[in-house]
Amino acid sequence: MPDADDAREGIHEPGRAEGASDAAMSELAAAVVAKFPGAVFHESHGQPVVYVDRASWHDVAVHLRDVEQCTSCLDVTVVDHLSDAGRLVVDGVAPERFEVVANYLSHARNRRLRVICEVPEHEPAISSLSDVYPGTNFAEREAYDLFGITFEGHSDLTRILMPDDWVGHPLRKDDHPSRVPVTFKEDPTPR
């Protein structure tokens, strides 16, 4: 094992996420809201969340990477709100069927930020972040595969978990598992 490098050890100094003040926690969010006029800040159980529109989705990622030291985009996923009984409604955000969610982490500042974008049912498309954060490549393929959201500019937007010839997007709420008939080899009648 190499000797402890004090400078590297120092990475852990600035940040206890739990102990940091609210203002410090949401400083990333505040920067995004100040830079992008349509962005809406929301605090979700102590975590900063910013709702942005589709036009600024990609620019927010570039801004977070280049200016705000967000080193990683840890996760991109989608939520289908087709059949919610009671949905969380945030002031200033027009709800749509799909929500694309990106989780950013700044290792240098030890801050997290969640960016959410509403995507309508009739046009399920959003720009890809994979040119800004290459790590989102698989995540966007998964979101495309399971929800049918098109990520524009993605280099290889193919199915990743389902078979290539699969029809439909299984995690959509209107894609019910029983749609796929179960047939047994020895059984003369299909079920």
Binding site: R8, G15, D84, I160
Partner: protein
Amino acid sequence: MSSVRDEQRLEGQTDEGAQVLQRETREIVMTGGLWPDDSDTTIINMGPQHPSTHGVLRVMLELEGETVLRLKPVIGYLHTGMEKTAEELTYVQGATNVTRMDYASPLSNELVFSLAVERLLDIEVPPRAVWIRMMLVELNRAASHLLFQATNGMDIGALSMMIYGWREREMTLRLLEMFTGLRMNNNFIRPGGVAADLPDGWEEETLSTLDAIERGTRDYAEVLTENPIWMERLVGVGVITTEQALALSASGPILRSTGFPWDLRKAQPYLAYDEVDFDVVYTSNGDCYDRYLIRLNEILESVKIVRQCIERMPAGDYRIQDRKVTPPPRARIDESMEALIHHFKLFTEGFKVPPGETYVAIESPRGEIGCYLVSDGTGKPVRLHIRGPSFYNLQTTAAMAEGTLVADTVAIISSVDPILGEVDR
């Protein structure tokens, strides 16, 4: 595949038919009808049935001679729709589902799910539950890294490691069985606390297992760490830089092997990790050897944490006494109508979680495991998404394998330590 062996076997045979067959086989191979003549590169398909792919990973390799030009992981062979299943299960049943994702460290999955549910419910579990959780997760981390030592050794060719690593892991699993009732897929950490209190005599059992783990880890170090063949095979193989790892959203031992000491247990402490003493293990070369060293030494750090858990295990309740979340004790059901109703409601409908969304992340043995949970106020989640560390870490194999020899891809895949159950979910 079999042509070389067949040739040797058939040599000297007088059977005319066999010899004709042999000649024909050789002709087909030598004319090279399988590849287009104008192409200098070869596409090799490795897996999904390959002993070094840890189950069902398929890897497409483009080779020029023996050099890897491109590597592409192909996944989905273990996709069982667990995130879809989660939408059909109540929050009480949810832990049973998520525990099967990363089957080498099931308790991390349960923990991240339970923490997410608890955050949406806005409840805090008693201190004893926190410490039991921490102890079990660390034992599980040790078990997972012991499994890595076994499979990594086997992949590289140190076949005795397969037996040694499995032996110590089995001891750890036996201890977990004593605590939880099951070796794997424990479903022990649940929203509201843990399923049961610690059994009688747990301290002695745990201490003796920890001694065995330490003894075993010392043995591995003796067998492997300074072993010239082992070093020849791993040092400088599959190198990745910090910048690459961060851009590819890698975490865990892969990120730490590049000289970046990022560990959520220290950086963003959860449970009681800020109260125990342990070190973040990291190295600076970013190669397969470093990732082996990190996992080996993390076993010892986990042992250190578990020892502190034994010493400082607080007294008190092991789960929250909120009847909306925790079922009443069996004895109460006989004497209290309320308890019976709570029991019945909890196991049929589950409990309701207020509308909201949250993302909770913890450090699993493989890196940051996150749970993105969306609730609409009913008893079942609208969306449960697990950010599997292996899913993202697998992307780094492409960067690591570029320009290396084809024989090193096995070492590279092994050093990422992917668990395909979590990759495909």
